[in-house]
């Protein structure tokens, strides 16, 4: 009965590869997010979707492309992976655009070698 689940939890891949991280929430929320946490623990939003509409698109390389097939899913695809993409990626969800309480997934540890 996990609220926000993301897969895979760990991912080790070579530079230049393309990879995807999937996220699903069963809380009935209409807003989902992708956050990136770097090695210094700094959390920064990358994207946010409300009812499948992109509402926040921070300055991230266009190698990162989010896709929301429905309100309960938000996937992150990364092309041509670089060493600097190594980080923990967190999916999150909330009800409403104002945000209310945000619930995070367990994170996906991406290591690019």
């Amino acid at each position: 009965d996990t609220a926000v689940s993301q897969t895979p939890k760990y991912l080790v891949t070579q530079m230049g590869n393309d990879k995807s991280i999937k996220c699903e929430q069963n809380l009935g929320h209409d807003t989902m997010y992708w956050y990136k946490q770097d090695s210094k623990k700094f959390l920064k939003i990358m994207f946010s979707y409300n009812n499948k509409e992109l509402i926040i698109n921070e300055t991230v390389p266009n190698r990162f492309s989010p896709k929301s097939p429905d309100k309960a899913h938000l996937n992150l695809h990364i092309n041509s992976l670089e060493l600097g993409d190594s980080a923990v990626y967190f999916c999150a969800s909330s009800q409403g655009r104002i945000g209310n309480t945000i619930y995070f997934g367990e994170g996906s540890w991406l290591t690019v070698v």
Binding site: I45, I56, E58, I98, G99, I102, F104, E106
Partner: protein, 109 residues
Amino acid sequence: GIQVEQSPPDLILQEGANSTLRCNFSDSVNNLQWFHQNPWGQLINLFYIPSGTKQNGRLSATTVATERYSLLYISSSQTTDSGVYFCAGKKSSGDKLTFGTGTRLAVRP
């Protein structure tokens, strides 16, 4: 966006001690949350507290919106309280939730 400052950046406590963590915002917020990231990396929402005071067990939080700060109180700390505490705020609908740089807490047995 807004700037979020947290203090102290690091804190070491003996088990049983009390502590106060502070979060300052550069502008008024209508959405303010506290999170705990445990040593395994899980981010847990502690409080949604844009104003006023809330309590949950040994933890409580107070936000003084007019003065742009929030406090998180931890009483009778336990080793399981160790981790990083983040506050995050958002100014208005559509703005992103901006996180502070966190307070890293270590509780010694």
